[in-house]
């Protein structure tokens, strides 16, 4: 063991801190002349956002990679995060605000709106500025030109296809032509009569496209302090001494918070999930010991972000370095422990068994075994985490604006940590720049809150991209060991699965990822009939970053396991993989279908999904193409994976619980306000929910305003996770509307002196016999104003114009059977994903050339939004399986902490995506809807792997490691060649 003293652990300095010199700049921004004296070291992006107040320019990284901040300097697209303000002196600058306005979108912006070229909107301003520059230079770009022109702009939501189509459409429009997207863009179900089923445009887009979005960092109170966090450079180290005195003495530094200070004042992190797991005691800042590289050690609040960074360099920390645990094997071995008070490093160990597993294996014609290790990766939303805390010393109230998916749970967790009455805390969520699961907990988010309480001033923390990788929530990283017994015909007799997840330092408190291995255990059998099943799921702790949800939450683990097993088994048995799938599918006539572990699959048609995918991919002709290509030395492969997306989780003893409430309120003037505890994080639920209310209430979507994300306004609700909107959000909204409809009918009948049964709903009101008719406005005015409730509201009806409905899943069963079966999901969306790949066997590079998803999420409310979710999910799935990997070295140092080295897909990495829809309505939700949105990351990786293995079949390669990075591919190809 060695002792080390670090100054500014992660940020060593080679020179003295920059002097506070200033420069005078004169420039033109959006046609307006500006003269300003600014600090010499000010980044131009800060000048644009803070000094000019042009908050349409967003920042998503610190190193010129993401492109969200792209603007034009003298007509060239540039990244102002890579420039000092001084360098813009004398320049002509144009930001997104120069293109169009919310009232009058520019043609390019209008094309983005029409083609759903944005979801969360965070990357959109930069994307627009790159596209605008392209179109000014090249009025007739090809699709390839467009994709190349936006390689400097990362979008995490859309999968790029709709962005590319938007730009091509704008170009065509300017030339007086009409753009038709190439085939494969989507095959929609028949247009419906009502609003539900229509792919209407999103009204929110006007502001997101023009720089009028309101992300958490966009609106700062006067005098807001900035947070910078000193993080442990060591994965496992005792903290001997922390000296903050020099930092505290610096001009402009208001407070420096240490772990001991926070522990003396507040409480540790409460657990967020506990299904019989071992819990750790952990604090917002490390107290005695740091358990991963990046754990907060101290947090500074200072007058500006540059000063806050300077102060970090002045904090002295003495560490005693301990041996880190960086692998599952080391963790199980147990000679080093992450938590001194635990018996071992195992945080979760759950098992299930039903059916005669051993008997089945004994009589099986084929026994197939497949093991693999799956790598660690993360969501990387373009807006990292941002929290703005404003403690009001006068009232004692605390307002927390934050970029989260679950405002109410955050409020409770803040209350528990701070020991503060919960009603004193208001959590407000404005626009959210993507979440994908990593914004479902509070972790570092509590630091600015503590600093605000200590200083009595507003304090913001804007997570840097490096922080997001270091401490942000990681997922996957598991070992899978599967064995399956088949009869002579390839029918499954029994399946066993053993999964061990590397939960990093924490999968229950700072983040709740350990449950994803538990979910994998429940769904190991996928879309297939499995008569006997034995499974074990373990979660172990290591000295890596916390483990949490990321688009999939174990559904991906189960899916990857069973769908890879099917291809491996087919080869061994001597069947076509899809034939093996067909022989084992749960059949369309068998729903609702209860699997051994307890979940009830609501509806579906798996053979049809597979047929659709085979048709779209030209399955029957592929073999000939493949052979012809191989003769030229080109390795093509086609692979399929079924997808099962359990949605609407209802997990006991957790923040993932089982109720959702909606309030629908009619205004006296006859329009509507829907208040929901669900959260719009860019996926577009406010548009979809307005469509539902419009149909239920017989109005237009523009008559409905949807409010979410303010704990002082909306009813208690649980937010956006587990694709639960399709079940909980939509059902509670529709049920509230139906209840309000009945109330309005009674009041209308009373006002018209008719029987309620005599009234027919019509657009915006009711018609009765004899030409009698009444509008919602007349009802609303009648109840609240002229004449008022005494004259208009019948006896037994409460004198208001609102109804609240709390929806709970009928499918949930929390009392386990003696074998341990449970039911904790409401819906089961499904799909079949298919990918065609080309592998360069000399360099190990894989290119996905075509991809298609046959998708079934029950009743589709807005097909454009659904397609967008599928596209974006597929792009994330491609990135995940080919490139995205969080690599730790043996000392527990995370090696890739920037978007240059953690490789999320860019426009040139994603092929054109085809989507086909099947609608198998759920019998268990009000409208037949099902949750969706996670299918892409769940189904795509296995489809791509199956395709790659298919391509490499002549070389005898079995893929056992991920991601399929070129170096790993060459290793596995060499191993295949050696054994075949």
């Amino acid at each position: 063991m060695s002792t080390t003293t670090d100054h500014a652990s992660l940020a060593s300095s080679d020179d003295e801190a920059a002097p506070r010199n200033t420069v005078i700049v004169e420039l033109t921004v959006n046609g307006e002349r500006r003269r300003a004296e600014v600090p010499g070291r000010q980044l131009f992006s800060d000048f644009i956002r803070t000094d000019c107040g042009l908050t349409g320019t967003h920042t998503g990284c610190d190193d010129g990679r993401c492109g969200a901040c792209t603007l034009h300097v003298d007509g060239q697209p540039m990244k102002p995060c890579m420039m000092f303000t001084a360098q813009a002196d004398g320049c002509q600058v144009a930001t997104v605000e120069s293109l169009g306005t919310p009232e009058q979108l520019s043609p390019l912006q209008a094309a983005f709106k029409k083609h759903h070229g944005l979801q969360c909107g965070y990357c959109t301003p930069g994307m627009l500025m790159s596209a605008q520059a392209l179109l000014e230079r090249n009025p007739s770009p090809t699709e390839d030109d467009v994709r190349k022109a936006i390689t400097g702009n990362i979008c995490r939501c859309t999968g790029y296809q709709n962005i590319v189509d938007s730009i091509l459409a704008a170009a065509a429009d300017a030339r007086g032509e009409t753009y038709t997207p190439p085939s494969g863009a989507g095959a929609h179900p028949a247009e419906s009569d009502g609003w539900v089923g229509k792919g209407i445009e999103r009204p929110t887009d006007n502001r997101l496209l023009t720089g009028y979005g309101h992300y958490t960092a966009d609106d700062l109170p006067v005098g807001t302090l900035y947070t910078a966090v000193l993080r442990s450079p060591h994965a496992h180290a005792r903290i001997v001494r922390v000296d903050t005195s020099k930092a505290l003495a610096m001009d402009g530094v208001d407070y420096v918070l240490t772990g001991q200070d926070a522990k003396d004042t507040w409480n540790p992190f409460p657990p967020t999930i506990n299904l019989g797991y071992v819990l750790n005691e952990s604090w917002p800042l490390a107290v005695d010991k740091a358990v991963y590289q990046g754990e907060p050690i101290a947090a500074v609040a200072a007058r500006d972000p540059y000063l806050a960074e300077d102060a970090l360099a002045a904090i002295e920390v003495e560490y005693e370095i301990l041996t880190p645990i960086t692998t599952i094997e080391q963790s199980l071995e147990g000679s080093v422990k992450v938590y001194d008070d635990w018996d071992s490093n195992i945080g979760m160990d759950v098992a299930f068994e039903d059916g005669d597993v051993d008997g089945a294996f004994a009589r099986a014609a084929h026994v197939v075994r497949h093991s693999f290790h799956h790598h660690r990766y993360t969501a990387a939303p373009m807006e990292a985490r941002v929290t703005l805390a404003s403690y009001d010393r006068g009232s004692g109230d605390l307002r927390i604006d934050m970029s989260t998916q679950s405002a109410h749970q955050c409020r409770t967790l803040f209350s528990q940590i701070l020991g503060m009455p919960e009603a004193r805390i208001q959590v407000v969520v404005k626009d959210v720049g993507g979440g994908f699961g990593i914004k479902l907990q509070i972790y570092d988010d509590v630091l600015p809150v503590m600093l605000s309480l200590k200083t009595g001033k507003p304090v913001i923390w804007v997570e840097t991209r490096e922080e997001n990788f270091l401490s942000g929530i990681h997922a996957r990283d598991y070992d899978a060991d599967l064995e399956c017994a088949f009869d002579e015909d390839g029918r499954i007799l029994a399946l066993t699965g053993d999964w061990i997840g590397d939960a990093g330092c924490d999968g229950t408190n700072r983040a709740h990822g350990i449950g994803q291995i538990h979910v994998a255990l429940f769904y190991g059998s996928g879309n297939y009939k499995v008569p006997a099943y034995r499974a074990r799921g373990r979660g172990v702790v290591t000295n890596k970053a916390p483990y949490g949800p990321y688009r999939g939450y174990g559904k991906d683990v189960a899916n990857q396991s069973i769908e890879r097993l099917m291809d491996v088994a087919a080869k061994q048995i001597g069947l076509e993989p899809n034939e093996l799938r067909r022989r084992n599918f749960i059949q369309p006539g068998e729903f609702p279908y209860e699997i051994l572990t307890g979940p009830i699959y609501d509806s579906g048609n798996y053979p049809e999904l597979l047929r659709m995918a085979e048709e779209a991919m030209g399955h029957v002709n592929f073999k000939a193409r493949q052979e012809a290509a191989l003769a030229e030395g080109i390795y093509l492969g086609l692979g399929y994976a079924m997808m099962l997306e359990p949605a609407g989780g209802s997990v006991p003893n957790s923040v993932f619980n089982a109720n959702e409430t909606a309030t629908l309120r009619m205004m006296p003037e006859g329009d509507f306000l829907l208040l929901t505890g669900m959260q719009d994080i860019g996926q577009g639920i406010t548009t979809a929910y307005a469509q539902i209310i419009a149909d239920e209430m017989n109005v237009d979507p523009s008559d409905v305003k949807v409010i979410c994300g303010d704990t002082d306004k909306v009813p208690y609700g649980l937010g956006a996770w587990s694709s639960r909107g399709g079940a909980f959000g939509m059902s509670s909204s529709a049920e509230a509307a139906r209840a309000l409809m009945e109330k309005l009918r009674k009041i209308a009948a009373h006002m018209l002196e008719l029987d309620p049964f005599d009234l027919e709903p019509r657009h915006g009101g009711f018609d009765g016999p004899d030409g009698k008719s009444i509008d919602y406005r007349q009802i609303g005015n009648g109840v609240h104003l002229w004449p008022g409730p005494i004259a208009t509201v019948p006896k037994g009806v409460m004198a208001n114009l609102e109804e609240t409905y709390t929806w709970q899943s009928k499918m949930v069963r929390w009392i386990p059977t003696d074998k341990g079966s449970l039911s904790i999901y409401t819906n089961h969306s499904s799909g079949c994903f298919a990918a065609e790949v080309e592998v360069d066997v000399e360099t190990g590079q894989t290119t996905v050339t075509r991809i298609y998803a046959a998708h079934d999420c029950g009743k589709v409310v807005n097909p454009t939004i659904v397609d967008g979710q599928v596209h974006g999910g597929i792009a994330q799935g491609i990135g995940a399986i080919l490139n995205e990997e969080l690599r730790y070295d043996e000392q527990g140092n995370l090696l890739n902490t920037s978007l240059w080295t953690y490789m999320v897909p860019q426009a040139t990495d994603v092929p054109r995506i085809g989507v086909g829809h099947l609608e198998s309505p759920s019998p268990f939700t009000t409208l037949g809807t099902k949750g969706m949105g996670e299918g892409g990351p769940v189904g795509t990786p296995a489809a791509v792997m199956n395709a790659v293995e298919n391509a490499l079949a002549p070389l005898g390669v079995e893929l056992t490691e991920t991601p399929l990075s070129p170096d790993r591919m060459l290793k596995m190809i060499a191993a295949g060649r050696a054994t075949s």
Partner: protein, 253 residues
Amino acid sequence: MVEVNAGRRRPSSVVSLTRVPELAGWHREGDEIVLGACLTYADMERGELAALVPALAQAARTIGSPQIRAVATLGGNIGTASPAGDTLPVLAALDAVVEVAGRAGGRRVPLLELITGVKKTSLAPGELVTAVRVPVLRGGQEFLKVGTRNAMVISVVMVAVVVDLDGQSVRAGLGSVAPVPVRAREAERYAGEHTDWSRGRLAGPAVARRFGELCAESTAAIDDHRSTADYRRRAVAVCAARALARALPPLEA
């Protein structure tokens, strides 16, 4: 700039060269091209310059995004001296000479002598790269880069092959496979000896493969977060063979 933002460098002052016209653009002097230190990648990737030094244009096109190509400069790439600097293998293959100015006056130094290690150069304090001289050559040029995806990627390996038909030589510059850009001298000699210079063709496809293997032998690759040493050697062999076969097509076997 990236290092400043990450807090890894905290310079007390920064001087912008954007508005020094003497450092911008390029011009021809006889058989040489003089590239200004502030020449941007956007300047290199198209137009007459791209026709004169095609490998440089190919390298420029693989770099970053339009936003970055608009501001990133040749001088910056040299000064940074990163093993993954994209133009460096091309400049190495071209035997580029760097013009350096300082208070004591100017000097000319070959690129391979200027770059002395990972992010290290022989520039003295106060010295500035002002220009780079490269020859105009008759013959094929090829730049190939393996990253872990198609664009906007820091390279795993880079190979630049330059053919000089008049001087009857093949030159290969390798990047990301050693602390500094590498010339594969043995491979160059081998290729030169196995070329039918009268027809301007390699003697056969096997020559390209052997050339690739010899290139791989001249590397000092390491494992890092982007790839492994083993992979880099194999990728160099494949890329070098492909690059040579494109720059100097082989006679059929």
